[in-house]
Symmetry: C2
Subunit: 338 residues, 2 copies
């Protein structure tokens, strides 16, 4: 029975830590590098540029419609690498676990991580586990850091953005699914149809889009702060403006309904499998077709463009025709969404 929960000793660095590594981590994260169990993984790289990113995942609940914290911890970090133009290669995994946490649940989470890593084409090559007493952390937090290789023809994606008026804004799918999935699980909202999180590694979708990297000027995954915050951040440093059309922004009806109930705006909701891109005018239809050929991109849409008007400002044209300036998120809509 004692073996079915996490004990303080599982984080000691001694015998129990070793058992946890052998029985769970190595069983699922099965690769030659991790197996060496060195304090640092030794990896081969080519001369050039690499992308390096980190994210801690503190989502609550840890199991939710469409995913779990493990799936999220892999796909979130993979997507940060993808949007910087990198091909994701290696992940680290740092676990902070509450004493008494179920080993069965830990195994489920680790299995999800292994499955998503395979899907994304990455290896989990190094890790760390800390265990703290009951009440000192809420169940389990996971940090993943990631390394990707940036192909030479994609270097511009991590450089200064320099779009021209008429360049188009594309999003790869519906807004708000992840946030509303978490909210409805947390608040037990009765829904006609279950809303699933969109958490998903987008390696294949991005690689397909970047077959002609020069057509794509910018990519970012739309996480905390939502589409509004990403666009405002971009726009602040531009000499042009951005205009988006509310009518063109895809949002599921069920998501809209929950938003109305809770007074949320989908523009500010976090997503975990959606990207916003700025692409050269003329290439937008071709790129849209490429995105749509992948399942997670089948509701992608062109939602706006770079404008000469209102420099450094994001303006949304509402369905009934009015225009208003969009600001970034202030405060927090939903804590522990990722």
């Amino acid at each position: 029975m004692n073996n079915e929960i996490i004990r303080i000793g599982h984080g000691s660095g001694g015998r129990l830590s070793r058992e946890l590594i052998n029985d769970i981590f190595l069983r699922y994260f099965n690769n030659a590098t991790l197996k060496q169990l060195n304090d640092a993984a030794s990896l081969s790289v080519q001369k050039g540029r690499i992308a390096f990113t980190t994210d801690s995942y503190v989502i609550d609940p840890i199991f939710f419609p469409g995913g779990d914290i493990g799936q999220l911890a892999v796909s979130g970090t993979v997507n940060d690498l993808c949007v910087s133009g990198a091909i994701p290669k290696f992940l680290s995994a740092g676990f902070i676990i509450e004493e008494g946490f179920s080993l069965i649940n830990l195994e489920k989470i680790v299995a999800s991580m292994a499955r998503e890593a395979k899907k994304a084409g990455v290896e989990i090559v190094t890790g760390d586990t800390k265990v703290v007493r009951r009440g000192q952390v809420d169940k389990i937090f996971i940090n993943t850091s990631g390394i990707g290789i940036i192909p030479e023809d994609r270097f511009h994606l991590s450089e200064k953005l320099d779009p021209a008026p008429g360049d188009k804004i594309i999003i790869t799918g519906t807004l708000g699914d992840h946030s509303i999935a978490i909210l409805s699980a947390r608040e037990k909202i009765p829904l006609d149809e279950i809303i699933l999180s969109d958490a998903e590694p987008l390696t294949d979708l991005v690689n397909n889009v970047l077959r002609k990297p020069e057509e794509v000027l910018f990519m970012r995954d739309i996480t905390r702060g939502g589409l509004a915050t990403v666009l405002v951040e971009i726009c602040e440093n531009l000499k042009f403006g951005i205009e988006i059309k509310e009518a063109d922004i895809p949002v599921f009806q069920s998501v809209k309904s929950v938003c109305e109930l809770y007074g949320f705006d989908p523009l500010y909701l976090a997503n975990e499998g959606k990207i916003v891109m700025i692409v050269k005018t003329g290439s937008e239809q071709r790129i849209l077709d490429r995105i749509k050929s992948y399942d997670p991109g089948n509701r992608a849409a062109i939602i706006g463009e770079i404008t000469i008007e209102h420099p450094s400002k994001v303006v949304i044209k509402s369905i009934i025709g009015g225009r208003r300036v969009v600001d970034m998120l202030s405060g927090e809509m939903l804590p522990r969404i990722c």
Copy 2:
């Protein structure tokens, strides 16, 4: 007043997150890569091998004699890179902070991280901040992941260990300082002399030792599980044994006294600035001199050697002459020691 504590909005990805990044993180972690505030840092590397490591720091108390969680989070990860033969280059920093945490304390911690990073020759190039509600995390946890470059002549340090009988075991200083510093702070033990943590980045010391890398067969920092656990782990996969001499292992008298009081064995205590090495026989005095020429190494000692006897076992010769087999740590002596 509101501005003096961490609020949920500081982890939202919106306006308050941006303020925190500008007012604290960018002020201290001031480098061209981080300033770009991309989701992933873009870094140049040469063809060859890199080391990649991760650690989460959950130490309690967060300020302790000789250091704080920020100093530890940098030096711990830097040292993991050093012992793999890498020259530490880039760190990520992932913060998980409890709502209500003092901004002044956060600033102190971030200032420590910046100072240690400078000392260690690394840049903090990417980061993430999550804020959770009161009671969902104990004050602050920090994950750092690190990337180092492994020079070609050091590749062997991350490969299979292959020592010969007579090769020597060296430790770079006294055992147990960090653990006993934390314990005495936590338990408010009255001491004649204050014991300071040994947390310290060992980049310079290791680079000095590795001027002739072929003389050094193995290095590991002696953290959780202590010297005993590291040696047992190494020895399990060897066809030879290891013998160490208790009389040659440096331990401060004040550390010994607290150990006796609490029934601890310094062999199992975690350190944060100590390394154990296996070096070729004949080179030990030269290497010892190199270690001792650096301040954190001034109590380094040759403590034992590889033996033909008792293959795969670590044996300690006690001060009074007896011999006993050393096992790895089972259970946990001091939770949240790092």
